[in-house]
Amino acid sequence: MTMSEVAEVLQAEVLVKGDGLLRRVGHVMASDLMSDVLLVDEEDMLLLTSLASDQVLRTAQIVGAVGVVVVNGKPLPSSMVNVANDLHMTLATSRLSKYDACVAVHAARHPL
């Protein structure tokens, strides 16, 4: 699935298209702990998080993530959009909870 397709599954609003919208999402990581995100070695990873801060985007850039989706419909600080633009990082927001977002992506990749 591409990041664009995942965004659709998550009913997400894409705030910054960045460089990742057409990239393939091979792995999904759901975490609010950036220290854990930095331990992951997968390059085609999508980060689902309920943490709405610039550091999420900086961490995602460091690990080469495809994009970031902030869940729970959290309002994002305007600085996040600026940082995402600077880093060419795809940024979206979804009303789904972190758990439901994981379930939705899994169901889309592995339909019953």
Binding site: D32, L33, S35, L38, T49, Q55, V63, G64
Partner: protein, 322 residues
């Protein structure tokens, strides 16, 4: 504001944020963090005692072509006679009276060991033409005006340019890491989460431009990012430097305190002294140094409680674990 010689000077609690001047050249930002007020101020002062008349002050200002005279006795600072004070004395007919009576005493002062960035913030905030500079013993040691800052920055920028020209950049072939030489330093401020991570982001972008292998880039970037966050979270501020040469990349984090009591403990999984606020930002899980060691081919840490910490991570670019 505070009267000189009595209370400590006003220190803004909101430190100069790099983000506020985010479009400025980084070299300039590094300079204003690195330089101290004492490096920039004018130390050779023309002063008057309190008993001198306002007319003497006026004459001294005319002779020396200065716009203010500090009033001090034996190093103790009492106030400043400005052009405004002289005009007021002329209008009120008190020009023959003493400086001690008509000088300005409600002054904002700077300390000589403050970073230049504080001085810039003061000029921006208070719109004064000059600030007296006191040392830790509350003695008057200098005066600083905008002209001093401009002159010092020009001198330092010229030095920096000469250093950069002589140190870098000897390019090899495209992506030929063995002959490429890159060197860069970033000052990192304590709790500056607005900017934490920017240095590592820039390091990664440079490595991508130079077309290093993606796995090598990732390891260098992770080491730099973890060390940068560590400086921001745990140190009193420090410098993150990195260099690439002779088939290896070195990322070094240096700080001047507070130091680590038990280095072995600090390098274990899940051990951290971070507070809840830092954890709420997604950091402080105690994995930072562990992760730096994980991505490094060589890892060194030296620290002493009460002094500084230096962490060095080396990643081999050719034939390494990438």
């Amino acid at each position: 504001m505070n009267a000189p010689g009595s209370q400590p000077p006003v220190v803004p609690d909101d430190r100069p944020e790099l983000g506020e001047t985010g479009n400025d050249p980084l070299v300039l930002l590094e300079l204003i963090q690195r330089l101290k007020v004492r490096d920039v101020m004018t130390p050779d002062l023309v002063t008057l005692p309190r008993a001198a008349s306002m007319q003497q002050a006026q004459e001294l200002m005319r002779q020396k072509k200065i716009s203010g005279v500090p009033v001090e006795e034996n190093g103790r600072f009492f106030g400043l006679v400005s052009i405004d004070d002289i005009i007021r004395a002329l209008v009120a007919g008190t020009i023959h009276e003493s400086c001690g009576r008509h000088m300005t005493t409600k002054l904002v002062v700077l300390e000589d060991d403050m970073p230049l960035s504080f001085a810039l913030r003061y000029f921006d905030r208070y719109h004064y033409g000059r600030f007296p500079v006191l040392n830790r013993d509350r003695r008057l040691v200098g005066i600083i005006c905008q002209r001093d800052i401009n002159r010092a920055l020009l001198v330092e920028l010229t030095r920096e340019l000469q250093r950069l020209e002589s140190a870098s950049v000897q390019r090899g072939g495209e992506g030929a890491a063995g002959s490429l030489y890159l060197l860069r330093e970033f000052p990192i401020c304590k709790y500056d989460f607005e900017n934490a991570g920017k240095a590592a982001n820039q390091i990664k972008q440079v490595l991508q431009e130079k077309q290093f292998a993606s796995k090598v880039i990732r390891r260098i970037a992770v080491a730099a990012y973890e060390l940068e966050i560590n400086l921001c979270v745990h140190s009193d501020g420090g410098v993150l430097s990195w260099q690439v040469s002779s088939g290896r990349a070195e990322v070094i984090a240096r700080d001047a305190g507070p130091g680590i009591e038990d280095v072995e403990w600090a390098c274990r999984d899940g051990t951290s002294t971070a507070n809840e606020w830092i954890r709420s930002l997604g950091f402080g899980a105690g994995m930072g140094l562990v992760n730096v060691r994980r991505v490094s081919d060589e890892f060194e840490i030296a620290s002493k409680k009460g002094s500084g910490t230096t962490v060095k991570a080396v990643i081999y670019i050719e034939g390494g674990a990438a």
